[in-house]
């Protein structure tokens, strides 16, 4: 599903963010990307989204080679993935429903399809009753659910999350993890960057540990493995 071959990323200022990464992620995997701040987790995720390009190596996602993909085909690549960020990135002047529907509208989905799909996804993330509320009327956990709903509403093959629980208290974080696991069970591949040790340890999923831009560990059923 996702394959990185000898991937190296050096920023123009000289920072070596990732060096010689080789990783294969299969369809349906749930992968934690762990490591201290500055290890290169966000860079890894940005490369999957083709927000930055590696200086060396190849990234293959599904049938597309991200590294050599033409500008025109980038949207095609991004439609294979849904993204969730630490800061939710909801549109403040749109309701919960509109925020989720927006993701379908901008890929020109049929309005009928939008009206069918959005309530379904909102019910799945447990926000059916709040579809007419605005983001600032919601708790942090609820806002993150909206952003997850938006990320999966177009049925992407992969859900990518960069520190999705970073702004949430532990209890709410767990709710979000349950939701992610549930999404994973439906067959969606999940790549989640985090430095939440307790979560990684309990979830018992594949753990890829980065340190100073290198893969230092890749465990099938791993634990966080650091004391930070």
């Amino acid at each position: 599903m996702i394959e990185l071959l000898n991937v190296t990323k050096q920023y123009t200022n000289g920072t070596m963010a990732l060096s010689n990464i080789n990783i294969k992620i299969d369809k349906g995997d749930f992968v934690f990307l762990v490591g201290p701040s500055g290890a290169g987790k966000s860079t890894f995720i940005k490369m999957l989204l083709k927000e930055v390009d590696p200086t060396e190596g190849k990234i293959i996602i599904d049938d597309l080679e991200a590294t050599t993909l033409s500008r025109r085909k980038v949207p095609q690549l991004r439609r294979k993935m849904g993204v969730v960020f630490q800061d939710f990135r909801l549109l403040p002047n749109k309701t919960v429903y509109e925020n989720v529907a927006f993701a379908m509208e901008i890929i020109e989905a049929h309005p009928k399809e939008v009206r069918r799909q959005v309530p379904m996804i909102l019910s799945m993330v447990g926000l059916s009753g709040k579809s007419n509320m605005y983001p600032d009327q919601l708790s942090g956990g609820e806002q993150q659910r909206v952003s997850i709903a938006r990320a999966i509403v177009n049925n992407p093959a992969v859900l990518i999350a960069d520190e999705p629980t970073g702004n949430l208290d532990p209890e709410t974080a767990w709710e979000i993890m349950k939701l992610l696991k549930q999404i994973n069970r439906r067959g969606t591949t999940i790549v989640m960057a985090t430095h939440a040790k307790e979560i990684v340890d309990v979830m018992q999923q594949r753990v890829i540990a980065l340190e100073q831009g290198r893969v230092v560990r890749d465990d099938r059923k791993g634990v966080y493995g650091y004391e930070d």
Partner: protein, 300 residues
Amino acid sequence: MAMRIRTVSYMIKQGLTSIWRNRMMSIASIGSVASALVILGIVFMLVLNINSLAESAKEQFDSVQVYIKDEVDAAGIEKIGEAIIAVEGIDEIDFLSKDEALENMKSQWGDQGYLLEGLETNPLPNSYVIKMKDVSYADGVVNALKNQDGIEEVKYYKDIVDNLLKITHFIRMVGIGLIVILIGISMFIIANTIKLAVASRYREINIMKYVGATNWFIRWPFLIEGLVLGCIGALIALSVVGYGYKIAVDVVTQKLYVMLSAHMIPSTIAIQNLAVIFIVLGAGIGALGSIFSMRKFLRV
């Protein structure tokens, strides 16, 4: 790329919403496009009219007019005619009697021709109109004739035409310079408006990017915004210049500069031409302005 109707209407809605949201900048953009086009229109109309005036003056350019003294009789006029034909470089001569000259003037004055009815005597002279084989003979012809008996005056319009052409050229150059500068300024202001619009929709664009909206889906609303701003500016300029020109034509006609107004371009034709030029330029300025700023600020 077949765009769906709802996509098109979505984009138009986005573009218009953004114009409203940044209305101060929108007004500045519209104002700058409008003022650039107003000046362009004024220069354009000046040049066109001076051109048309120069053009009709040019018809007399290669003709020399020989005015004959009133006391000369028919035989004398005949003799002067023979003398003229004998001069080198003459192609063709035409006799214009004083009565014919008055008739011509009446028809040129059009509606105001009746004013000439009141004249007790015809003040216009008998004359010969000389066509030369080539402009270069003009000076020789004038010199050969000006001291002849019975000739009142020999008129040749070269200087007037030359000066007219010089003025036209000057106005055209200054006009083009001014227009280029003003178009540049309007584009810059539109580019800044769009930059602001892009900035104010930063979050939306960011999300659109991640969800996989195509480049053009993201860009069209901004392009539409630029186009609409440019076209509104063009329409304002069109009404200002069109109306202004209509008044100018009326004033010139009413103030009895009949000869002048006969050579002015009619306002309906002027407005039709201005409409095409303004809309094309307004839309062009708007589109280019937004494309410039999208190139810079909308890396998708």
